[in-house]
C-alpha cells in the first residue's frame, strides 16, 4: 500500500517537474494579424485567432490553405513574417521550438529510427534532463494508457502503422506539455483505425485537459473530434465555431460546400423581391413562394434577381407522385445504398440534385419523384460575395 502512495507522490512531483508552471501553462494562445510569406508564396494572410485554454481546436481547410504553416508557427518551426503570437501574455514570435513547452505529432510519424520504442517515447524527457527513474516510470505509465507496453523494446521498423501512431502520441503525451500540436496524425491510417484513434484522442483530451490544436483537411474528422473548428482557405480564416455552428450556419457558400458529409446542392435561383417568389431551377420547373420571414431578410439584404440557394442532401425530401405546390418533379438517376440512408442523384430538368433519405422507401433509377425542401434548413448566399444572407447568425 505504501508503494502506491509513493507512486502518487512521485506522479505529482513529476507533473511539477515536467510541465511549465501552471501560471504560464493555463492561458489562452492568441495570434494577432499573423502573416507568413515564403519566397514566392503568401501562405498565411492576416490570421487572427484565439485558442482557448484546454480546448481541442481543429484547423480545417484544403491543402495549401496555410493550416500546417500556422501549426508550425505555433511550434516555433517557422517564424511569422509579421504579426504576433502570444502564449498568455508572452510574445512567442522568436522563441525557438525547444524553449516552448509543446509536444507535436506529425503526419509522417516522425519517430527516430535509430532508437527503440522506449527510447523514442522517453527522448523528449531525456532532452529536458528529467531523471532516469522518472522517465522509466512515465514511459511505462503512458504505454499502458495507449496499450503499447509490450512493444517497448521493439525497433520502429518492426511496428505497424497504427502502432507507430500510438507511439508517436505516447511520445507527445509523456511530456505533459502545455500545448499539443497534431498535424494530420491519422491520415496514413486505414478508415477503421482512424475512427478508433479519433475516439481515443477525444478520450485522452478529456483526461489531460490540455489545449490541443489539430490540423486536418478532412471535415468529417474535424466534426468528429473538435470543440471548435477554424476553417481556413487561401491563407485566411473563413469561420470559427463549434462543429454544429459550421454545419447549421456556414458563414458563406464556400464553408457550406466544404462542411458536411455529402456535398451540398447549390442552386442559382432567381428571387423576385416584389412577389416574394423564388425560381429554384433555371427552367422554372421549381418555383415556390418563400416564407415572409425569409423574403424580408432577402429584401433587406437588397437581393433581387440571382441568389444562391444551398440545400443539404439530407434536407431534401423525395416522395412518389406528381409535384405539389413548391415542389419539383424529377427522375431518379442513380442510387447508392449507404446502410442507414440512401443517396440519390435526381435529374430535375437540366439540374442534377443530390438527396439523402432514410432507407424506409426505396426508389429505382428512372422512377419519377417529387422533390421538396424544408425552408428552415435552406441557406441563401449572395452570388457575388458568397456571404450568407439567410438564416441570420445565431439561429
Amino acid at each position: 500500500m505504501t508503494g502506491s502512495v509513493s507512486t502518487i507522490a512521485a506522479a505529482e512531483t513529476g507533473r511539477a517537474r515536467g510541465a511549465a508552471p501552471p501560471a504560464s501553462g493555463r492561458a489562452s494562445i492568441r495570434l494577432i494579424d499573423v502573416h507568413k510569406r515564403f519566397e514566392t508564396f503568401h501562405a498565411v494572410r492576416g490570421l487572427n485567432l484565439e485558442i482557448r485554454d484546454g480546448e481541442l481546436l481543429v484547423l480545417l481547410g484544403p491543402s495549401g490553405c496555410g493550416k500546417t504553416t500556422t501549426l508550425n508557427m505555433l511550434a516555433g518551426l517557422e517564424q511569422p513574417t509579421s504579426g504576433q503570437i502570444l502564449f498568455g501574455d508572452r510574445l512567442m514570435n522568436d522563441v525557438p521550438p525547444e524553449e516552448r513547452d509543446i509536444a507535436m505529432v506529425f503526419q509522417s510519424i516522425a519517430l527516430y529510427p535509430h532508437l527503440n520504442v522506449r527510447d523514442n517515447i522517453g527522448f523528449g524527457l531525456r532532452s529536458r534532463k528529467v531523471p532516469k527513474e522518472e522517465i522509466a516510470r512515465r514511459v511505462e505509465e503512458v504505454s499502458r494508457t495507449l496499450d503499447i507496453a509490450r512493444l517497448l523494446d521493439r525497433k520502429i521498423h518492426q511496428l505497424s502503422g497504427g502502432q507507430r501512431q500510438r507511439v508517436a502520441i505516447a511520445k507527445a503525451l509523456v511530456r505533459r506539455p502545455t500545448l499539443f500540436l497534431l498535424d494530420e496524425p491519422f491520415s496514413s491510417l486505414d478508415a477503421e483505425l482512424r475512427r478508433q484513434m479519433r475516439g481515443e484522442l477525444v478520450r485522452i483530451h478529456r483526461e489531460v485537459e490540455t489545449t490541443m490544436v489539430f490540423v486536418t483537411h478532412d471535415q468529417e474528422e474535424a466534426m468528429a473530434i473538435a470543440d471548435r473548428i477554424a476553417v481556413m482557405n487561401a491563407g485566411e480564416m473563413v469561420q470559427i465555431g463549434s462543429p454544429l455552428d459550421l454545419y447549421q450556419t456556414p458563414k458563406n457558400r464556400w464553408v457550406a460546400r466544404f462542411i458536411g458529409a455529402h456535398p451540398i446542392n447549390l442552386l442559382d435561383a432567381r428571387f423576385d423581391a416584389g412577389s416574394g417568389t423564388l425560381a429554384l431551377l433555371p427552367d422554372g420547373r421549381w418555383t415556390a413562394t418563400v416564407p415572409p420571414e425569409i423574403a424580408a431578410a432577402l429584401r433587406s439584404n437588397g437581393a433581387n434577381g440571382t441568389v444562391s440557394v444551398g440545400i443539404r442532401p439530407e434536407h431534401l425530401t423525395v416522395e412518389s407522385g406528381p409535384p405539389g405546390n413548391g415542389q419539383a418533379g424529377g427522375e431518379i438517376y442513380t442510387r447508392q445504398i449507404l446502410g442507414t440512408e440512401i443517396l440519390y442523384e435526381i435529374d430535375a430538368g437540366s439540374t442534377r440534385l443530390r438527396a439523402v433519405t432514410p432507407t424506409a422507401r426505396l426508389f429505382n433509377p428512372g422512377d419519377p419523384v417529387r422533390i421538396g425542401l424544408d425552408w428552415a434548413n435552406a441557406f441563401f448566399f449572395d452570388p457575388q460575395t458568397e456571404a450568407r444572407l439567410y438564416p441570420p447568425d445565431g439561429r
Binding site: 521550438p97 525547444e98 516552448r100 509536444a103 532532452s127
Partner: protein
Amino acid sequence: MNTWVGPIIVLAIVAVAVVLAVIAINVAFRRAGARRALTYFFAALLVVWTLVPIYWLLNMALMYKTELLSVPTHLYPHDLTTSNFVRIFGGSATGPTGEELLPVGQAPAIKRGLVNSTIVALAVTALTVLVALPVSYALGRLQFRGRSGMLFAILLSRSYPPIAIVIPFSYLYIRWDLQGTLRGLILIYFTLTIPLFVWVMTGFFSSLPRTVEAAARVDGNTRWQTFYRVILPMSWPGIAVATAISFMVCWNEFAFAQFLAAGSPAQTFPPVLPAMFFQISMPTEMAAASIVGIVPPAILAYLFQRRIRSLNLVDPL
C-alpha cells in the same frame, strides 16, 4: 590496335551476358528455387570476374621470378614462397636453388611510403570529416541564398583530373616550401576529399525525413543538439561510406603524390610501385607490394560494409 580491341570485346560480351542473364532469371523462372540457383550462379560469375586479377597478383607475389617466367604459365605457385614479401620490407631470403636473394632496393621507400600514406590518409580523412560534415549538413538541410551555386562549384572542382592542375601547383609548392612535404600533400588532398564527402553527405542529409528534425526541436533540442543527437546517429551509414571513400582516395592517390612528393622523404606508397616497374623490372616483388597496398582499403571496405548492413536504415519511415 589489336591490343585493346580484344579486352573491349571480352568486356562487352560479359556485360551483355550478365544483363541477359538477369532478364532471363526474372522472366523465365517463376519457380523460386530455380531463380535463386541462377541468381547465385551469376553472382558467383561476377565475383570470379572481380577476383581473378587479384588472385593473379597474389599468384605472382607468392612465386619466385624464375617460376613466373616458366612456360606454360603456372596457375598457382608450385614452389610457394614468402620471399617477395620479406624482401620488399628489407629482409634477405634464400632462392629456389639455395642462392641468397638480397632485399629489394626500394624497401626503405616502401616502408616509408606506407607510413607516410597512413599519416596522410588518416589526417586528411579526419580533418575532412570535421570540415565537410557541417558543410554538408548546411547544404543538405538549410535553405539559404547561393546554396545551389555552392553545390555546383563543389561538383565542378571534381570535374577535372588532378593531373590537369598539378603543374601550377608544383610551382606554387616549390615557392611556398611545400614541395616534398607531408603537409603539402595533406593540403592538396582536401581538394579531392572535401568535395567528394560534401557531395555524398549532402545527398544523404537531404534524403533524411525533415519532420524527424522538427520533432527533435519540439522535443526540446537546439539545432546543434538536434544535429548530434538525432541527425548524426541517423546518418552513420552515410558518414561511414563517405569517410571510407575519403580514406581510399588519399591512400590510392597517385598524380599529386608523384609530382609533389616523389623521391622526397614525404613520398607516399603509390609512387613507389612504378619505380619498381620502370627502373629494374621486378614483377613478383611489385606484385607483393601491390598486395600490401590493397590490404588497408580492403579491410576498411569490409569493416564499413558490415557496419552499414548491421544498421538497417533502408526504411527511414
